[in-house]
């Protein structure tokens, strides 16, 4: 019983704000007796932190740009040049690489996919251990290849779907530049390209690598009952979600000129993309899901809405249990775990079992009458409104837009 007893009345009185009404400033800290400001190590570290980079880097020289506590006296005259330097770090340059690592990206419509970025991250692991450089081979990009970790950028021909020509172009680059490793994504197109290149080179392919470091590569065999491990070989395909993308400083991404590919007579005459039909695609494959919960009573409108939005319909368990939607539409832990880009929840509370099903969705939009629903907390855009009224409004607007 050695702790001093608290006296709540006295404490409250100490925080009283003078005036006619009784007002208390509860946020005010009692004055420190010595008058010296207290150290707050967390705040100091946060101020000294150098932005950018995966590793924690601290600049303790007190020159750090914009922190208010430093901006007193002489420090306020910091030249603006250093702040711009901090904002855009100069790209790392590997001028004389000891060897090259090729990273081949799918990059449909010029954007690097998450899987492509992981392949670049894997290529960086292999290159950085020994002073090599990463060459990104992709169709012409709109994305920043340097930030994704490429030292060189080599544009492959983009002719729609022409894997045979693409493989011939890659083979010419491999013959000309003799890379130490060639890394592909184990995606439908990337895996196809990798196998074409492997058989043309007559070299083995270490397919679907699950773990990659500069010293070892591991891949499963025998239906994931066995695995092969060894030093990373020349040709590899990397499984999705196995290596983290490059998060460090940007690299130079200098464009280099492709060499002249050999002529091929393609067996593939033409190809045409057939977009997924949201009405028939399975929930696990869907790109955009609109889901109904217990807050929805008008399921005819809901089905019209899903069709008009071009979304795959889903539902919470309560709705499926009631037989209002088929069981196959259930989203969640005991239903389907989604892989969608966008999830639109109408009248769903957001129980943990339901949120598990949408953990992988990048964008969530919610309509709910309850401001405090868990789904509203999860969503990036929440509308607090009656979903029954919003549905017809959405349908009207979509019909106007379509007309």
């Amino acid at each position: 019983m050695s702790r001093p007893r608290k006296d709540p009345r006295a404490e409250r009185q100490a925080r009283a704000v003078p005036g006619q009404r009784p007002r208390y400033d509860l946020a005010r800290r009692p004055e420190t007796p010595g008058g010296r400001p207290r150290h707050d190590p967390r705040v100091e570290i946060a101020r000294a932190r150098v932005p950018g980079g995966a590793r924690l880097r601290l600049d303790r020289t007190q020159h750090a740009g914009s922190s208010p506590s430093v901006a007193i006296g002489a420090m306020s005259a910091t030249p603006p040049a250093s702040t711009t330097l901090l904002a855009a770090p100069t790209p790392r340059v590997v001028a004389e690489p000891a060897f090259l690592v090729f990273a081949v990206a799918d990059a449909p419509d010029g954007r690097l996919t998450g899987h492509d970025r992981q392949v670049l991250g894997g290529a960086r692991l292999l290159a950085d251990a020994d002073g090599g450089a990463v060459v990104l081979l992709a169709p012409p990009l709109v994305d920043d290849a340097g930030a994704a970790g490429a030292d060189r950028l080599l544009a492959l021909p983009s002719l729609g779907y022409a894997p045979e020509t693409l493989a011939a172009a890659l083979l010419a680059e491999i013959a000309a530049r003799a890379p130490r490793h060639i890394l592909f994504p184990e995606s439908p197109d990337g895996g196809d390209l990798a196998r074409r290149v492997a058989v043309s080179l007559g070299e083995p392919l270490f397919a679907d690598v699950e773990q990659l470091s500069a010293r070892t590569a591991i891949r499963p065999t025998g239906g994931r009952r066995r695995e092969q491990a060894g030093a990373p070989p020349r040709l590899m395909t990397l499984g999705e979600g196995r290596v983290a993308p490059h998060l460090g400083d940007p690299h130079e991404a200098r464009t280099i000129d492709p060499c002249e590919p050999t002529e091929t007579t393609p067996g593939i005459l033409r190809a045409e993309a057939v977009p997924a039909d949201p009405a028939t695609v399975s929930l696990a494959d869907a790109r955009f899901v609109v889901s109904a919960g217990n807050g929805i009573t008008d399921f005819t409108s809901f089905k019209h809405l899903a069709a008009a939005l071009g979304a795959t319909p889903g539902a919470s368990r309560v709705v499926c249990d009631a037989g209002l939607m088929p069981r196959a539409a259930q989203v969640g832990a005991s239903g389907t775990v989604l892989d969608a880009d966008c999830y639109f929840a109408l009248g769903i509370a957001g129980a943990p079992q339901h949120l598990q099903g949408i953990a992988g969705c990048e964008h969530v939009v919610a309509v709910n009458t309850d401001l405090h629903a868990a789904m509203v907390e999860r969503a990036e855009l929440s509308i607090i409104a009656d979903a029954q009224a919003v549905m017809p409004a959405l349908l009207r607007l979509l019909a106007e837009g379509g007309a």
């Binding site: 992981q118 066995r226 979600g241 401001l371 929440s382 009207r396």
Partner: protein
């Protein structure tokens, strides 16, 4: 049209017993839907598993006997060169063995055929001597590819399901032992380069999860909303709400 389905000796993922890989049973169904003369070709050390193909609707299966661990590629290439089929159907990956998916590509290279991967439907093309193949892409998207025969087509798991196993069909089908003259396959490039061992499960990186911080922080980053929730709008009329939602979805590029 002469069609050959490549059947590999598969192992069941759980029991490890010999089975016919499901993908190759689906390839049989796909070949049958196309019409023509369908036969099977397998290089295996015993007929267990691959012989089930007869029950799944294949009328004839040629079996090339191999020794355990022998490279089937030169044998298959020699047999296919003898038969000269117009279309070779294979699985996209084998099951239970190496699972590298290289065999169809290596055969196509050896025989000078084209390859189209991941088919879910095949039909004759509008021009003679071509096929129109529906290819499976991620997220339910498809691609229609027109390619010139002869070619190798690999089958995707999203293809129509296999025909159910029928005992009568299995009894009626013929299993032929086949002998081919082939140059011995190239010896394993570097035996013992890779260590073979029991599989260890490795969790995938979670989408959106950070790489720093403690395990609890990473879990929170992966399962919670991005940062401190999003935009919350109250007191909108249904029209305003609908307009806001559609603008937001269009901004994300979700609405077509």
């Amino acid at each position: 049209m002469k069609i050959t389905v490549l059947l590999s000796p598969g192992l069941h993922p759980l029991s490890g017993k010999p089975v016919l890989p499901r993908l190759e049973a689906q390839a049989i169904a796909l070949g049958k839907s196309l019409g023509g003369v369908l036969s099977g070709l397998a290089a295996a050390s015993c007929p267990d598993g691959v012989a089930d193909a007869l029950g799944h609707g294949l009328a004839q299966l040629d079996l090339i006997a191999t020794t355990e661990g022998e490279d089937p590629m030169p044998l298959l290439a020699a047999a296919l060169a003898e038969d000269g089929p117009k279309l070779v159907l294979a699985g996209r990956r084998s099951q239970g063995g190496e699972e590298s998916g290289l065999v169809p590509y290596a055969l196509a290279k050896a025989l000078g055929l084209g390859v189209v991967a991941d088919a879910v439907a095949i039909e004759p093309g509008t021009e003679p001597g071509t096929l129109s193949i529906l290819q499976a892409l991620p997220k339910g998207a498809r691609r229609r590819v027109v390619a010139r025969l002869p070619m190798v087509v690999t089958v995707h798991p999203a293809a129509p399901p296999a025909l159910p196993y029928a005992y009568g069909a299995a009894r009626r089908g013929t299993l032929r032992a086949r002998r081919v003259q082939a140059a011995p396959g190239a010896p394993d490039a570097a035996p013992g380069l890779f260590e073979e061992r029991a599989y260890r499960k490795r969790p995938k990186l979670m989408r959106g999860a950070g790489t720093g911080g403690s395990a609890a922080e990473r879990l929170r980053a992966a399962t919670e909303a991005g940062g401190a929730g999003g935009r919350v709008l109250t007191d909108l009329s249904p029209e305003q709400a609908a307009r806001t939602i559609l603008d937001h979805l269009a901004g994300l590029g979700i609405l077509r």
